[in-house]
């Protein structure tokens, strides 16, 4: 007994550095965000604060701009996440279960490679492919399917395509991680007991890959909903998302308080949605009767 006690004390010591990190870069900034969402305007060059107010929050809901953008951004976030899930499942399955074991690392490497390139370059490269008279449109024009002088750039569809391209690797990696851990024997057992592919997927693979799926959704839905670079570059005149609204408060009018308040409300909404996703998934898990 005394032996195991010692181990626990040691463990908590080992956790200290990462807890400190969490405190400095996650907990304290969060409280700063909440604090700044109640200040009036920007902080002065000498760090002075002009006053405290709850106006920032009433301003958010004084017209429909924020609400509209929030709904739109969530819509885009959900569409992008769903498409990523649909593409990622077969891809992750293929890498984890169909490809030869010695090729796993190579295939995962191929998924990761886009991370080596800066995000802005990824966006520009997709733009070069999609733009009028670009690769895709020239090909479609050659096949007489579309006018090569037009393109789908500068629309919400273009924003969705770019975001899927950027965030798909996160989803594949998360789901791959879970699927890889599923014992092949479970799948064989399912088959030998008479379940088809679909039943096996619903009753065995899906429940067991739930943790990966959940972290995948978290890693994709949250940043996609808050994105502002992509809609600015490829969204055209209808591209604005809630991230752009937040960005404009900081970068163009230097209204830090209002910007922080919008970020705070955004954070709450996103947290609620993630909570709902979590509950729904554990319910689904239970009704399926999985783990």
């Amino acid at each position: 007994m005394p032996n195991s006690d010692k181990k626990i004390t040691r463990g908590s010591l080992l956790v200290a550095p990462s807890s400190l990190l969490l405190l400095c870069f996650s907990v304290i900034p969060l409280f700063m965000l909440i604090f700044f969402s109640f200040i009036n305007g920007n902080i002065g060059p000498d760090g002075s604060i002009a006053g405290y107010t709850t106006n920032n929050f009433t301003m958010i809901f004084s017209d429909s701009t924020f609400t509209k953008l929030m709904f739109k951004s969530l819509g885009i976030g959900i569409v992008v996440t769903l498409i990523c899930v649909i593409i990622a499942y077969p891809a992750a399955w293929g890498i984890a279960k169909i490809a030869k074991a010695k090729n796993h690392n190579l295939l995962i490497m191929l998924v990761i490679i886009p991370f080596f390139t800066s995000q802005i370059l990824l966006i520009y490269s997709i733009m070069v492919i999609l733009q009028a008279k670009g690769l895709l449109m020239s090909l479609l024009g050659f096949l007489k399917l579309a006018d090569p002088a037009t393109s789908i750039l500068y629309s919400n569809v273009a924003v969705i395509i770019v975001l899927i391209y950027e965030y798909l690797p996160y989803m594949i990696l998360c789901i791959y991680n879970s699927i890889e851990k599923i014992d092949d024997n479970l799948i064989y057992a399912s088959h030998s007991l008479g379940a088809g592919w679909f039943k096996t997927f619903v009753n065995v693979v899906f429940p067991m890959s739930m943790p990966g799926l959940l972290s995948g959704i978290m890693l994709v839905l949250v940043p996609v909903t808050g994105s502002f670079v992509e809609p600015g570059l490829v969204g055209g005149s209808n591209g604005m998302m809630v991230g752009s609204l937040i960005n404009s408060q900081f970068s163009t009018v230097l209204n830090m308080g209002y910007g922080a308040a919008i970020s705070f409300v955004f954070l709450i909404i996103i947290s609620i949605i993630m909570g709902i996703v979590r509950v729904l998934m554990s319910r689904a898990n239970r009704s399926i009767g999985g783990a």
């Binding site: 701009t65 509209k68 733009q131 670009g134 600015g232 005149s237 591209g239 604005m240 163009t252 209204n255």
Partner: protein, 365 residues
Amino acid sequence: MKKSATILLALTTAAALMLTACSGSSNSSTKASGSSGDTGEKTLVVANWKGYGSDADYGAPAFEKLYNCKVVHQYFTSEDEMLTMLQTGGMGKIDVILPNSTYIKTAYDEGLIQPIDTSKLTNYKNLNDTWKNFSDANIDGKTYAVPWTWGTTSLGYNPDIVKDKITSWSSLWDPKYAGKIGFFDDYETAIMTTALYLKEPDPMKPDLDKVKDSLLQLKKNTKVLWSSYDDYLKPYAANEIAIGNMWTGTATQLTKAKHSVAYITPDEGTIGWGDFWSIAKNAPDYDLALKWVDFMTGEQFQTAFATGDNAHCPVNNLVTDKLTTDQKKDLWIYPSTPSKIYIEQALDTQTRQAWLNVWNTIKAS
């Protein structure tokens, strides 16, 4: 193992020492250059963007020779950084700064600049009145900023596609060009441009409700909201957009890339920006700072600045008059400098927020 650790430690210490030594010397260069020179050699500290005229061969080196002094540049990468420079210890060290037309008022409000005695400037009388009389540069009868160079955000179009003769901002509202318009994603330009189109008496104080309605219509016509050169160049090159407001520099870039472009001043007038020289409060050498401002607006410098590789519009009338037709065309001031220019001013906090809210509402709808 121990040995290698010692060596590593020694190496890091040495590197750290070298780093501090380097940064120390670069920090103190401002002061050192003043004292190390011959007796009586003066130093002028100039805050400007890097590679923006004043540090060219015809800039600081020419000035140094003329007045037997030393010019030290301190570079900033944004207007805000320029103000911060003064606020965090630059006061009393920096002599002259280059605020943009929208930043003069801010610098004045924060007490960062001092009046300029224009009676001691030999070239001031030759400067273009539009820029000289800019309201933000002249506060309470005193001059706080002297114009240096300028540009516009005016109406440009592709004459290969737009066959009509364009003379008015109303073309942007013309259903004929729906889906062919590129518009600057900037709330101040958007609202001022719309105010000009609506012929509001003062484009800086327009009826915001009217502006909002018109902007909503404009948005329906707009294909691209641009905020950089590249944002404009790509869709323009692919003929996805053919008309819209653009910077003088964008028109120049498009011409350089062999695209046909016409850049005009609409009848209602156009939006302009200017870069101005101001003398910092507590400037160490006020007289030398005056000489610098005078030199920067003089014929010699302005001619070189307007005809170099990266040409900039001059404010000195004598220089403008002597430019050749081709040089004027390069600067988009042929046949004449636009007369109706509305210069972007600093907005107070409330107006700024109200204007941004209008623009965000338009973009969100």
